[in-house]
């Protein structure tokens, strides 16, 4: 009887948390993954994990903080998993930018941006364009970017952890930056 009571209690508590925090968690997950489905899956998994390890919570911390900690772990795992099988053998991608002599195609050659200070980030409109462009990156590339700039570890350490070669890693980051740069140029700098 005691056990039945406990499990109903637990479920009611977690249901209450879903009501209170699922939108916050979802918004955060979407910001961090740029994918609606992934964000939804991760938030769902977070609550399932919360039910399972409820014993560890014991009301010691704020439930919202606890749920965010679980979610952040899941987001990290997601990026690591995503990144293990990136696609980079894609000469057709580079052919968009470079001609047969491997030099910039005239229309693709980078031209100076007006604002190169990096203060751009404070501009809300720019942030929108930037997030849009980030979201356009292939999953594995997006994850590589998250891992590189989130942890600020040196490249070699990240590669060791992920079991990939450094060459693989910077080749992916390079492609991600080529694409981001072009997307920003079209969606922001040309406006």
């Amino acid at each position: 009887m005691q056990n039945v009571m406990d499990s109903t209690n637990l479920k009611n508590t977690v249901k209450c948390w879903v009501e209170l925090y699922s939108d916050n968690l979802y918004s955060w997950a979407l910001h961090k993954t740029s994918s609606k489905e992934t964000a939804e899956d991760l938030v769902q998994e977070t609550f399932m994990a919360a039910v399972q390890s409820f014993g560890k919570f014991e009301g010691k911390s704020n439930p919202k903080t606890w749920l965010f900690a679980i979610l952040n772990n899941k987001i990290n795992d997601h990026h690591r998993g995503n990144f293990r099988n990136p696609t980079i053998n894609d000469n057709s991608f580079l052919q968009v930018f470079f001609d047969q002599h491997d030099n910039w195609k005239p229309e693709e050659a980078p031209k100076q941006w007006e604002d190169e200070t990096g203060n751009l980030f404070d501009d809300a409109e720019f942030q929108k364009a930037f997030e849009y462009c980030l979201g356009k990156l292939p999953d594995g590339w997006f994850s590589a970017v998250q891992l590189k700039y989130l942890e600020e570890k040196n490249g070699e350490l990240i590669c060791q952890e992920l079991g990939i070669t450094p060459t693989n890693f910077w080749q992916i980051l390079h492609r991600a930056k080529l694409q981001l740069r072009k997307c920003l140029e079209i969606n922001w700098f040309k406006k």
């Binding site: 939108d23 491997d102 980078p110 941006w113 190169e116 990096g118 970017v145 490249g155």
Partner: protein, 87 residues
């Protein structure tokens, strides 16, 4: 001399690769020399080099912003109901 130039001259594809490699891994002296020679002559890669640093800066700020309250808050009632039904 022609052979030496061939060794030292990079294509833009290779030069832009080195530019992004540089933000992750230390380049060899040869790579540095090749890159500097190339960017001295190529406006496209010179611009790319600057923009690569701007991107580093912006990406760093974006990814490191760990302030949950700064993120656009969305509502997802379907997800809410789905999770509740699974509990």
């Amino acid at each position: 001399m022609k052979k030496l130039m061939q060794i030292l001259m990079l294509s833009c594809r290779k030069a832009s690769e080195l530019i992004d490699k540089k933000s992750l891994i230390k380049l060899s002296w040869k790579e540095n020399l090749q890159l500097n020679m190339h960017t001295a002559m190529c406006d496209g890669c010179k611009a790319y080099q600057k923009q690569s640093l701007v991107l580093d800066n912006i990406l760093h700020k974006h990814v490191q912003s760990n302030d949950e309250s700064q993120v656009t808050q969305l509502e997802n009632p379907d997800l809410k109901n789905k999770i509740k039904s699974k509990l």
